[in-house]
């Protein structure tokens, strides 16, 4: 039983890590309808900034946790107001091309600034210990990530369901014309949502960096994983993204435990099965 319990903790912790990485993308796609292929790059930049901030002292991790997401949010502001805005009337294909181009640009900029070596972000001593559960050692930080994921999910849920801002955002999701009819500046809403998406991407980068490390092309790997989570959960649903993250975390962990040869196959297999059975994802609304 212990081993099942331990794998359960592994799965939940990995799942919540996925949620932290993905929720920004889910928000942006859900509300703007923009498939942001540069999401992985924003995540990467967050992680690299965290590296730069912590390279001299691990205690700076907390500073990094503030600076990096804000820096990425500013970058998002720049992207949204200068480039992305131009594509709202051009449609999905142009957005694919634009954000893919941005991903390419950021890829080279990152390797220019931070090189192509494998790097990690070290944790402050308060987080770097181990905790024993189910007769097995776990890095304390993994358990912290579970907490962060839960808090983030709760906060996003609260904002979306219980605040005026959330109401506007949900309205924007259903009908962009309607909220501009209500006298709300739709452009501003879109900009702010994209900035929040960027902030969350940067935040995910900092949180994930000590576990996943930093290396060239990390952003593309993250991007695909995030897209899978997004789709399985269903577009435009934070709850769906949350459920999908946990589901993938558990499925991946247990498939690695029970049938390791299939693990590469399994995540995409899971996505295919879910889409065929539920064409709009677990909890998604219909989006054309």
């Amino acid at each position: 039983m212990d081993i099942i319990g331990a794998q359960l903790v592994n799965g939940v912790s990995y799942g919540l890590l996925l949620f932290v990485i993905t929720c920004g993308l889910a928000l942006v796609f859900g509300i703007l309808g923009v498939l942001n292929l540069a999401h992985g790059s924003l995540y990467m930049i967050g992680a690299y900034i965290a590296y730069s901030v912590t390279v001299n002292s691990t205690e700076n991790f907390w500073i990094a946790l503030i600076i990096a997401p804000i820096a990425v949010a500013l970058l998002s502001l720049l992207i949204e107001t200068t480039l992305l805005r131009l594509t709202y009337h051009l449609g999905h294909l142009s957005q694919v091309l634009l954000t893919f181009g941005l991903a390419y640009v950021f890829h080279d900029l990152a390797s220019m600034v931070w090189g192509s070596n494998v790097l990690t972000v070290a944790l402050p001593p308060s987080l770097s210990g181990t905790t024993t559960l189910f007769n097995q050692n776990f890095p304390t930080y993994r358990l912290v990530v579970i907490g962060i994921g839960l808090v983030l999910a709760a906060a996003l849920w609260f904002i979306q369901e219980k605040t005026r801002w959330g109401a506007i955002i949900r309205a924007g999701l259903c009908d962009k014309e309607m909220i501009s009819a209500l006298g709300i500046n739709i452009k501003l809403v879109l900009t702010i949502v994209f900035i929040i998406g960027g902030f969350l991407a940067g935040f995910g980068g900092v949180i994930a960096a000590p576990i996943l490390g930093l290396y060239p092309s990390m952003e593309f790997q993250t991007l695909i994983l995030a897209l899978v989570v997004l789709v399985i959960g269903g577009l435009g649903s934070i709850a769906g993204t949350f459920a999908a993250s946990i589901l993938i975390g558990l499925v991946e962990t247990f498939s690695k435990y029970l049938m390791p040869e299939l693990s590469l196959f399994l995540v995409f297999g899971l996505m295919a099965v879910i889409l065929v059975v539920k064409p709009n994802g677990l909890l998604g609304k219909k989006v054309a």
Binding site: F29, L35, L83, L86, T87, L90, H92, L93, S94, V96, L97, L98, F100, G101, L102, A103, Y104, V105, F106, H107, D108, L109, M112, F220, I224, L227, V228, V231, L235, E261, L264, F265, F268, G269, M271, A272, L275, V276, P279, N280, G281, V287, A288
Partner: protein, 329 residues
């Protein structure tokens, strides 16, 4: 107009036919590669540009065609009579199976479902080391033959591929202008309306998916025949992404666009990366410039140039729409 077109076609044909006489071997090889990827991009364009189904898993069919061809050439015979039809059949088979599932979803979910299937095929190729060589790829594939002609000479191979390219290009041009192709365009524009007109749109989309898959398989097969090698990286989602970029940057929903897009990407990648390690930066900036300045792709640039030159000819006769009703008022 008609005669003018034929002359232009003849001119292009002549230019292409004479290419081996003035192009260096390296550039000829590059041209072959462009033609093959051109077929690949054209096949995706049927789906993306004409039917309005954006797929991010088209590399699956390329890979299936390529591996089928490679395995047949190694195990059975490198004769094109064997390799090409097998690739075609296998890719039709696989695309009809995948298509069946993908028809159930639409929009972004379609994009992701095609991605899921292509990644599963990638995993399969990646894992079945005995059949496909796994990560090392399938190498040492003998060069193609046809009726006693050995195509290890790139010039012969060029003519062969040029011929196939011309056939595919002509065939697709006719197809998209045919009533069938017009229905696909109708679906791209407004699927609900097409259903109300009595069209079984699912069937049309499905046919389009299979044709695209089959031609993707042909492109893959030619690629293997040309390179004597195929590796899983050509089945990975990045390959699907880059062919999608070729279509978009060339101009989706046009015949010339995807081919020009393939040419641009291949040339850019080859040339830029010879001069700088920062080639991704440069290509990325070019993508962004396209979005900002030429959202209709290369063909769009060309068209606006032509339009500017011939400003005197308006596209449509402007007449007052109200006129019709006045008489009855």
């Amino acid at each position: 107009m008609k005669g003018n077109h034929s002359i232009k076609f003849l001119f292009i044909f002549l230019l292409m036919a004479l290419s081996p006489f003035f192009l260096s071997l390296f550039h000829l090889n590059l041209l072959i590669e462009i033609l093959i990827l051109g077929i690949f991009a054209l096949s995706l364009n049927l789906l993306v540009g004409y039917t309005g189904l954006v797929s991010l898993g088209h590399a699956a069919f390329f890979g299936i065609g390529a591996y089928a061809s490679g395995i047949v050439a190694k195990e059975l015979s490198p004769n094109l009579i064997a390799t090409l039809p097998v690739s075609l059949l296998v890719s039709i088979l696989v695309s009809s199976i995948i298509g069946m599932f993908c028809m159930k979803v639409s929009g972004f979910y379609f994009l992701m479902l095609t991605l899921a299937f292509s990644q599963m095929i990638y995993s399969f190729i990646h894992q079945s080391t005995d059949l496909t060589g796994g990560t090392n790829g399938l190498s040492g594939i003998p060069s193609p033959q046809l009726g006693g002609v050995d195509f290890s000479n790139p010039v012969f191979l060029y003519y062969l591929i040029l011929l196939i390219f011309a056939a595919v290009f002509t065939g697709l041009s006719v197809l998209v202008r045919s009533p069938f192709g017009q229905v696909l365009i109708g679906i791209r524009e407004n699927e609900t309306r097409m259903k109300s007109m009595g069209y079984n749109t699912t069937l049309y989309k499905y046919s389009s998916f299979i044709i695209a898959g089959a031609l993707g398989g042909v492109a893959g097969s030619l690629y293997t025949n040309f390179n004597g090698f195929i590796s899983p990286s050509d089945v990975y989602w990045t390959m699907s992404g880059s062919v999608l970029i070729m279509v978009i940057i060339g101009g989706a929903g046009t015949m010339a666009g995807p081919v020009l897009g393939a040419g641009l990407i291949v040339i850019l990648e080859t040339i830029v990366s010879s001069y700088t390690n920062m080639w991704m930066l440069i290509i990325g900036v070019i993508f962004i410039l396209f979005v900002v300045f030429f959202p209709k792709g290369i063909v769009g640039i060309g068209n606006s140039l032509v339009n500017n030159l011939a400003k005197s000819k308006p596209l449509y006769n402007e007449s007052k729409p109200e006129a019709v009703y006045k008489k009855d008022a």
